[in-house]
């Protein structure tokens, strides 16, 4: 297959690309959608790599990959809709925000972390951005212990050091959500 480097528009039934998740499951995706994943794009930017090659995504679970693909597919469609028209742009932006909210709404902390790690590994800038924003919103009123659990961090302060820092910034502990 020739590597023509062009992205077909989504509504033209163009080429597809095969992505393999960590459990071996294969996802066949439209080329335009696959190129949203910069990691995949770089994979094919190398000379001599044909579009038939299955892209191994060893660090991404099939659940996460399915959601990523679903998001990118909708994102590509929405981008095609917007253009010079203010109204259409505004509508597309609202739809995209709705899409993002829906993606994170039902997700557990583990699920959202899995998505962030996937978006980071696959290098999808917009998706990583809104996911980080969503996580930020989740943790901003949470306790220190909650954050440690979420990010799997050990408390390496000595009891005295921790007490001293806490006292220094006691005002920041007001109004924190109960765990």
């Amino acid at each position: 297959m020739a590597n023509n480097g062009e992205n077909p528009s989504p509504d033209v039934g163009g080429k597809t690309v095969k992505l393999k998740a960590d459990d071996g499951e294969i996802f066949e995706v439209e080329e335009a959608v696959a190129m949203e994943l910069q990691t995949v794009k770089s994979f094919f930017d190398d000379d001599g790599v044909s579009y038939d090659t299955v892209v191994p995504l060893l660090n991404v679970s099939s659940t996460a990959l399915a959601k990523v693909i679903q998001y990118c597919r909708r994102a590509v469609e929405l981008r095609a809709k917007s253009g010079d028209d203010e109204g259409a742009n505004e509508k597309a932006r609202e739809e995209r925000e709705g899409l993002e909210a829906e993606l994170v709404r039902e997700e557990s902390d583990e699920g959202i972390k899995e998505l962030i790690l996937a978006a980071n590994y696959l290098n999808i800038k917009d998706m990583l951005s809104f996911l980080c924003r969503a996580v930020g919103d989740r943790i901003k009123n949470k306790s220190v212990e909650y954050v440690r659990r979420f990010f799997v961090l050990e408390n390496d302060f000595s009891p005295e050091e921790e007490e001293r820092t806490r006292n220094e910034v006691a005002w920041a502990f007001e109004g924190v959500d109960a765990d």
């Binding site: 583990e110 972390k113 899995e114 962030i116 790690l117 980071n120 990583l128 951005s129 980080c132 924003r133 996580v135 930020g136 943790i139 901003k140 009123n141 220190v144 954050v147 440690r148 990010f151 799997v152 961090l153 050990e154 408390n155 390496d156 302060f157 050091e161 921790e162 820092t165 806490r166 910034v169 005002w171 920041a172 502990f173 924190v176």
Partner: protein, 353 residues
């Protein structure tokens, strides 16, 4: 199985958090404490939050109001956060962490990047309300002579080139019998070095500043004073800028067609440009001239004239903006400004006995 989140993703998340959360999360671990307090992170968090404003619906404005009464114990400085919109609702009040000793209130020098600089004679205080830290600066080098022997002109600004906040102090020793020669001395305090240093910059001691005890605009790493030129007797005014990094004075003449009936001319920053707030006491009006192109005298434009019913107390021009101006259309800004000025009038007139 819980997975470990890479550092760059953690930073991405933390940069979007409000300051209060970040301060609390200093207690998560030693590495988070170092990260959150590192100058690089602070700098990038500040730059991130200016456009997004932490997802708040409206920019915020800090309004300072000093109440005073016959009973000194009741004197209070109020710092309140308001939503900068048509409704102009109060959002929060800060606890002012210190108290002036000899004067009724501190004098506001200026605020920049969330740092507020206050002074009381030769005592200078820096206060960052978002992280609730307040500290006294060391004593300055130049001691002003008491009893009308000296006049002090101060400015506070931020230089993005050196990533440093600075306090500038111009002390003019007037001529006396003992010391007949008038002299002007300049010293600069750098937050980075935590010290005052005499500057070799020089200026004419007889410079007639029009903005004594008013905040000075800080733009492009320079603080801007306003003065009248006595040399030719024409009384043409000019902006005297002091470059915080190079410590050099430069002049920019006022608009050619500006009338000279102003009692107070103060520099400020308006939508990212240098501007002059000119208060005309006789006619109770305030005009705002904007220098559309920095450094180009021909680019001064008289943007607004605001009628202020009832007049403004001299200190009304001390309103500080917590966030840089947004890119709204001029008329919206005009409404906001006049609303702000009138609100300040109300705040001040409420306290006039």
């Amino acid at each position: 199985m819980s997975e470990y989140v890479p550092d760059e993703v953690v930073v991405n998340i933390l940069q979007r958090l409000p300051v209060k959360s970040l301060i609390r999360f200093r207690c998560v671990s030693k590495s988070w404490n170092s990260l959150i307090t590192s100058p690089a992170f602070v700098h990038s968090h500040l730059n991130q939050s200016i456009p997004n404003n932490n997802n708040l619906p409206h920019p915020l404005l800090i309004v300072r109001h000093c109440s005073s009464s016959a009973n000194r114990a009741l004197d209070k400085e109020h710092y309140k956060l308001f939503y900068d919109n048509e409704a102009f609702e109060e959002c929060a009040e800060f606890d002012f962490p210190t108290k002036s000793r000899s004067l009724k209130h501190f004098r506001l020098i200026a605020s920049e990047n969330g740092l507020i600089c206050l002074s009381e004679q030769e005592r200078y205080v820096l206060w960052n309300p978002s992280i609730r830290k307040c500290w006294n600066l060391p004593k300055p080098c130049i001691t002003a002579r008491k009893h009308s022997g000296s006049t002090c002109h101060e400015a506070f600004g931020f230089d993005p080139r050196t990533n440093d906040h600075k306090v500038v102090r111009i002390v003019i020793h007037h001529s006396t019998k003992e010391a007949p020669v008038e002299e002007a001395l300049v010293e600069v305090y750098s937050v980075r070095t935590c010290s005052w240093r005499l500057s070799s910059a020089s200026l004419t001691p007889s410079t007639n500043f029009t903005d004594w005890r008013k905040p000075k605009a800080c733009l492009k790493g320079s603080v801007h004073f306003a003065a009248l030129d006595q040399r030719n007797g024409t009384g043409i005014g000019f902006v005297l800028s002091f470059d915080l990094r190079d410590e050099v004075f430069r002049e920019m003449i006022f608009p050619h067609n500006m009338t000279r009936l102003h009692t107070d001319i103060v520099t400020c920053v308006f939508s990212g440009s240098l501007a002059l707030l000119c208060y005309d006491e006789k006619n109770f009006s305030c005009s705002i001239w904007v220098m559309k192109e920095y450094g180009v005298v021909d680019s001064w434009v008289k943007q607004f004239t605001i009628d202020i019913v009832g007049g403004i107390e001299k200190n009304a021009l001390e309103a500080t903006a917590n966030d840089p101006e947004d890119q709204d259309s001029n008329s919206k800004q005009f409404n906001r400004r006049s609303h702000l000025l009138s609100t300040i009038c109300q705040l001040i007139t409420r306290n006039i006995r």
